[in-house]
């Protein structure tokens, strides 16, 4: 039974989101901290270094960590205020169980009892319906140790194939594209390499708001002469001063890349020598691009011909370059093709692996990189091994000391798991670090599925919107209450350090998972005593895989302020032990060796060649139409993060941007008879939302934008479409058809509802 036990507002009243504030010791001028703990921000994929001020087992503030090489003390507002998630009134200090008779719908219960009940429910469901009746949802904000343990727990303890994670909503299109083109999925270069490059193309990334620290790298590159090209339907803060703005119509990125490549081919702005020596598949791509004439590309993409020509010339004739992209081109039912289109431009330029030249996706989540490498993905085993590959299975079964035959096969993506809940195949769910009720598209469907679960257990530090459906909530740990590693945007493995203990009966997440394994009577393989021990096993499990961490130690990470994988304990060519491998800051350098190509070439395929892939343009599913004539696109604001479980509880961040607004162009506003601040209703085939208008000239007139961090009636994902990329299974958050009208009346809201709720 997983319906919400009482009204949403009754739950809000007890569990929030309420706002934390700078009070008490956090405000006092005379208080000195006991110590400063060097660690990282808990939010985005850049993993900025930060020092937390700790006094009496409480984080009371921060100091910039200027020595950390990536951000050198820089932080965005989320990093500055991250410490206010601690000592929070909403913090879960005990386990809870669903209790409709309680005013807030949940009653506290002793931790061990909650573990026992969870184990018995899982055992009951699996006995009655089979191991696959229970699914696991993980997240990419967890440390790599936790993601590794969670994958192992699902496969070894629960023996279910059904595990997937919220990275499915984030970087899987890039990952799939990278694997198809390069055989490895990681950014090629440290960001510092951008400084000195001659052109940077940013496709579908609102860098200023979603990865703010990257801005300084862009600006610094520009100071040294780089031209900046921005491809986006909105004039984002970095687009404002870029050298070339490509105002692409939402969902047309593959067409844009094909058209630009066609110009490059026509003008011979491609590196044929590199293409011949280091790639395969170019001819079919060239054949495909032939249909993308300048006129047609401009017609489809909405980008003027002169701008397409300028982009092709700058990119085609540059001496060095960076191509960066993010969810703007990836969050599409054509997301992998969009990624491949960008990669085709990179390969055609022949500059990959050269100095000051790089390519990569800007990951969104804290451990967006590390969280997608070690086995919480449905088809994956640690070290980026493939769960369908017999050799890979045998190796990991050996590390885990189980019979290979016991290892389940591939599961399904996170959204498909909900469809399996809907059809009754999955009846029990364990979720951590995932808030699908806010973050998945068409979330009315997600809610219906949650209501069908026979048993749902959530591990969380705050009661997030999805956990409201839980039968049992287990109190997990905040970022600063545990240690471990994460791998940030550049492929740099960093060390997260513990600053304070878990409060009350809250536990470190990995302990909770192990407690469940013990209560299920299958503790073997789940008796780690500290994260370091998990990491040591992970090193071994990753050894010989593409994402090889075998040469990484906690000490090495701290000493070198980050280590780039692959980092080997044994030379992949000779098998000889290496005392202190330097890691691999740059991929694909001329003459570089990798364990797949074995010297045949730079790229991670047996022949060492990168692959051109035909990057087919397909119109979005549920595209703008006569009935729904406007494009809806969604994204972030700088002061909020993902589904807002943390950031909607931090007072100063909520104050910065309290509630979502609908951003629309004055020409559209005029047509609708709307002025700034009016209530506006946007409607798609899934649902509608009424929010205040923000009338600005910085968005395409045929497009509206809604940020997605809020829940309930303020959730943008009431509107988005559950169309998914056929390869990566990423949902199409960045475009669907909608219609917009001036609202008949302000939305009816409970008088107690606060802005962030």
């Amino acid at each position: 039974m997983a319906t919400i036990p009482v009204g949403e507002q009754e739950i809000n009243d007890r569990f929030g989101p309420h706002l934390s504030a700078m009070t008490g010791t956090r405000l006092s001028t005379s208080v000195q901290p006991d110590r400063l703990v060097k660690t990282h921000c808990c939010f985005c994929g850049q993993q900025c270094g930060i020092q937390l001020k700790v006094l009496n087992n409480e984080v009371i503030g921060f100091e910039p960590w200027e020595e950390f090489p990536f951000n050198k003390g820089m932080l965005c507002p989320k990093g500055v205020k991250r410490y206010l998630q601690g000592s929070h009134p909403d913090r879960l200090l005990t386990a809870f169980h669903r209790d409709p008779s309680a005013a807030a719908g949940f009653s506290p219960m002793p931790y061990q009892q909650a573990i026992a009940r969870t184990a018995s429910e899982i055992a009951r469901l699996q006995a009655a319906y089979g191991a696959g009746a229970v699914g696991v949802l993980g997240g990419a904000s967890l440390t790599t140790e936790k993601t590794y343990l969670l994958g192992k727990f699902a496969r070894v303890c629960l023996k279910t194939p059904f595990i997937d994670y919220n990275g499915r909503l984030c970087m899987v299109s890039a990952g799939a594209g990278n694997k198809k083109a390069f055989g490895v999925d990681r950014v090629t270069s440290p960001w510092a390499d951008m400084i000195g490059t001659s052109v940077i193309w940013v496709a579908g990334s609102n860098v200023a708001e979603c990865s703010p620290i990257t801005t300084n790298y862009l600006w610094q590159a520009r100071e040294q002469g780089a031209k900046i090209i921005i491809q986006d339907p909105r004039i984002t803060p970095i687009a404002r001063t870029c050298d070339l703005y490509l105002p692409v119509r939402p969902g047309r990125d593959a067409a844009l890349f094909a058209g630009v490549l066609q110009i490059m081919i026509e003008r011979d702005w491609i590196n044929r020598e590199f293409i011949d020596a280091h790639t395969s598949g170019f001819d079919s791509v060239a054949e495909y691009c032939r249909e993308w004439t300048l006129a047609r590309t401009a017609e489809v993409t909405g980008v003027p011909q002169r701008s397409l020509m300028q982009a092709a010339e700058w990119w085609g004739t540059a001496s060095s370059s960076f191509m960066l992209h993010a969810r703007g081109i990836e969050h599409h039912s054509n997301g992998v093709q969009n990624t491949l289109g960008a990669i085709n431009l990179v390969l055609a330029s022949g500059r990959i692996g050269e100095p000051h030249s790089g390519y990569g996706t800007i990951v969104g989540q804290a451990n967006g990189q590390g969280g997608r490498e070690h086995g919480q993905k449905c088809d994956q085993l640690p070290g980026w091994r493939d769960i369908s590959n017999p050799e890979h299975r045998a190796y990991i079964a050996g590390v885990w000391d189980i019979n290979e035959a016991e290892l389940p096969g591939p599961g399904v993506d996170a959204y498909e798991m909900f469809r399996k809940i809907d059809t009754g195949e999955i009846k029990g769910l364990l979720s951590i670090c995932f808030n699908p009720k806010v973050s998945l598209p068409d979330n009315a469907f997600v809610t219906r599925c949650l209501e069908k679960l026979e048993f749902f257990v959530a591990i969380d530090f705050f009661l997030n919107d999805t956990a409201r459906h839980a039968d049992i909530v287990l109190p997990g740990s905040l970022h600063e209450e545990d240690e471990g590693t994460a791998t940030q945007v550049e492929g740099r493995i960093i060390k997260v350090n513990k600053a304070v203990d878990c409060p009350g009966e809250a536990r470190q997440d990995w302990r909770i998972i192990q407690d469940l394994a013990a209560a299920l009577g299958r503790p073997k393989g789940f008796t780690f005593t500290e994260p370091r021990a998990i990491f040591e096993e992970l090193r071994l499990a990753s050894k010989g895989g593409v994402a090889d961490y075998s040469g990484v130690t906690y000490e090495k990470i701290e000493r070198e302020m980050g280590v780039f994988w692959p980092c080997y304990s044994h030379d992949p060519a000779t098998g000889a032990a290496i005392a202190d491998h330097p890691g691999t800051p740059r991929l694909f350098q001329p003459g570089s060796y990798n364990p797949i190509a074995k010297g045949a070439g730079r790229f991670y395929f047996p022949d060492g060649r990168a692959r051109f892939n035909v990057a087919d343009y397909r119109a979005p599913i549920d595209d703008a139409s006569d009935e729904y004539p406007i494009f809806l696109t969604t994204g972030r604001v700088v002061s909020q993060f993902l589904s807002g479980t943390q950031t909607r509880r931090i007072g100063p961040l909520v104050k910065q941007y309290p509630e979502p607004r609908i951003e629309l162009h004055p020409r559209l506003a005029e047509k609708l008879g709307v002025v700034d601040q009016d209530w506006v209703t946007a409607e798609t085939r899934r649902g509608e939302i009424t929010l205040r208008a923000s009338v600005v000239t910085t968005i395409r007139p045929d497009t509206i934008f809604i940020p997605y961090h809020w829940a309930g009636k303020k959730s943008a994902n009431q509107l988005t479409v559950a169309a998914q990329d056929p390869i990566s299974k990423i949902p199409q958050y960045k475009v669907c058809g909608c219609r917009v009208r001036k609202a008949e009346a302000p939305p009816a809201r409970d008088a107690r509802l606060e802005a962030q709720q």
Binding site: P77, T241, V638, S639, V696, P701
Partner: protein, 217 residues
């Protein structure tokens, strides 16, 4: 004492409006909970451009000159301090007079508070909070050599013309190198006049062509 060789530089062209500066300012030990700086949109309806507003630390601070209570002091190292508590009468003269729009009266506390360049930090040779965290480095704290090496496209300027009033400041604004070569000061009032004749250094950029002109709805 703030070391002489370290300076504060503002480059609004880099600003991304993230408010990390404002949020970090409120963390400073001496005024925790309140920010002494603010961030302005120039005109959000027509542009995403924002400008961080920190105190410019004038050599002859107008705020101090108009203060009837003599509450605003300038330290020997050139930092104009927040109003002194026993003296400030919260009259707001400084708010009206400051040509840069910096001071604010905090009504609840009955006092004017403004950016003091994180004097607790800068007087010990450390960077101010805002310039340390700024993700775009629109706010930069360092030496003249560093800024010249890091920002070859622009030049620091610290002379401003407001009608008849010429002001020099301790804080520098980065201006495009070509324009700054023509006149090493910013004529602020002239730039506010839409019909002014051609001038050596304008604040306003020529209106760019609307990239969405062709978009049909």
């Amino acid at each position: 004492m703030k070391p002489d060789h370290l300076h504060f530089f503002i480059d609004p062209s880099r600003c991304i409006g993230c408010q990390a500066c404002v949020q970090a300012c409120s963390e400073c030990d001496t005024h925790r909970g309140d920010s002494m700086i603010h961030l302005e949109y120039i005109d959000r309806a027509s542009s995403i451009q924002t400008v961080p507003v920190v105190c410019m630390h004038c050599d002859q601070p107008t705020c101090a000159e108009v203060c009837p209570a003599d509450a605003i002091k300038r330290t020997a190292d050139g930092v104009v301090q927040s109003a002194r508590k026993p003296r400030c009468i919260a009259c707001g003269n400084c708010v009206s007079a400051c040509p840069f729009g910096v001071p604010e009266v905090y009504e609840e506390r009955k006092i004017m508070m403004k950016c003091d360049m994180c004097y607790d930090r800068t007087s010990e040779g450390r960077k101010p909070m805002c310039a340390t965290v700024c993700p775009s480095q629109a706010l930069f704290y360092g030496t003249r050599d560093e800024i010249e090496r890091l920002r070859p496209q622009s030049t620091p300027i610290n002379r401003f013309q407001f009608g008849g009033q010429a002001i020099t400041t301790r804080v520098f604004v980065m201006a495009p190198r070509g324009l700054a070569g023509l006149a090493p000061h910013l004529d602020v009032t002239a730039a506010m006049d839409e019909y002014a004749p051609a001038r050596p250094l304008a604040l306003k950029m020529a209106a760019a062509a609307d990239p969405f002109d062709d978009v049909e709805i």
